[in-house]
Amino acid sequence: MNKGTVLFQLAAIFSIILISMTSFAQDRIFTYTYQSGVLGKGQNEIEIWNTFRTGKKEFSNRIDTRAEFETGLGGNFQTAFYLNYTSKSAQKNINGLKYLESESEYSFSNEWKYKVSDAAANSLGFALYGEYMIGTAEHELETKFIFDKKFRKLTLAFNLSGELEYEKEIEDNEPEWKITKKSDATFSAAYELNPHFHLTLESACRNRFSDKLESSALFTGAGFSYFADRFWANFTVLPQLKAFKGATDNGLDLDNYDKLEFRLIFSYEL
């Protein structure tokens, strides 16, 4: 782990210690799929996300760390601010010469979420979600439709999302913005073993478009969620199972997506 990552995580942990506490943490169970719940007015949470991706066609490792400050605005609205740090190393080939290229980037994101109906009080929970991200070489716009439902021990959630990614690239010696359209569907289920512990199953179908569908891959994995009063932690291992379009290796798309992902989110209510 490099110096930037360590400093970034220390700053986030230090900010947690500095601030006082109340009660009622948000019940986020999944790591990839969002739920319709929002924080109450004046409630605040710090979340630290770590996602490790590995296993492209040629050597590639990537860590994304996000420090999120989430706050409830009341009236079913919630907003969150993120500081994002990405570090990646990948094998490159130029004129037959192989070398390892490492790069890192900071960016800022802001999300807004509006809960339309509740997963427990209503027959179906539903929320609208929007997020923008500003980086030095990349900008993103993302929207989601979030559906979820709570049974006694079982929680189900389903998201449909669309994303526009603007990435600065050098093409024919000229800088230009490359636009990628993405659309994901995620579906997750969680079973409550006891009030503090859930087992989770998450599935994501990720798609990239230009004029038409360019690549599509299915990821499915398992994880757990631990909840204790003001603290929760969720972990999921998400391997790529099948590429519906754009397969490169044994039915997987290892050009656009990684073979394996791990995500850990831990949160503390302030």
Binding site: Q26, G37, G74, A119, L124, K149, F151
Partner: protein, 101 residues
């Protein structure tokens, strides 16, 4: 399985599962009467709980906390959510019926 059929199957099953059954937050019945609260009072408690608490955050199932925990949490939140003493009592009566023992 092709991408098209897979997408249709996922969306169909997701919609079916998510929209099936009623809400998880229990709807009081006659047998739920407790602490002298009538069925109408419990129904009013559910309505207030969904509206006053659920308008700001996700509602928690009554089974999640004990009566003591509910009492302190409702007292703590009633000021913030502008819930009167009378309304707090109705909400507490409602959640107490299924509170964790």
């Amino acid at each position: 399985m092709s991408y098209k059929y897979f997408s249709i199957a996922v969306i169909f099953f997701a919609a079916l599962l998510l929209s099936s059954c009623g809400p998880a937050l229990y709807i009081p019945e006659v047998r739920d009467g407790m602490n002298g609260a009538s069925l109408n009072q419990l129904l009013k408690g559910r309505e207030l709980y969904s509206e006053k608490c659920g308008s700001c955050h996700s509602v928690y199932l009554p089974e999640k906390y004990t009566i003591q925990e509910w009492t302190s949490r409702i007292n703590e939140m009633s000021g913030r959510a502008k819930i009167s003493r009378e309304e707090s009592t109705l909400i507490l009566n409602y959640v107490s019926v299924k509170a964790r023992r």
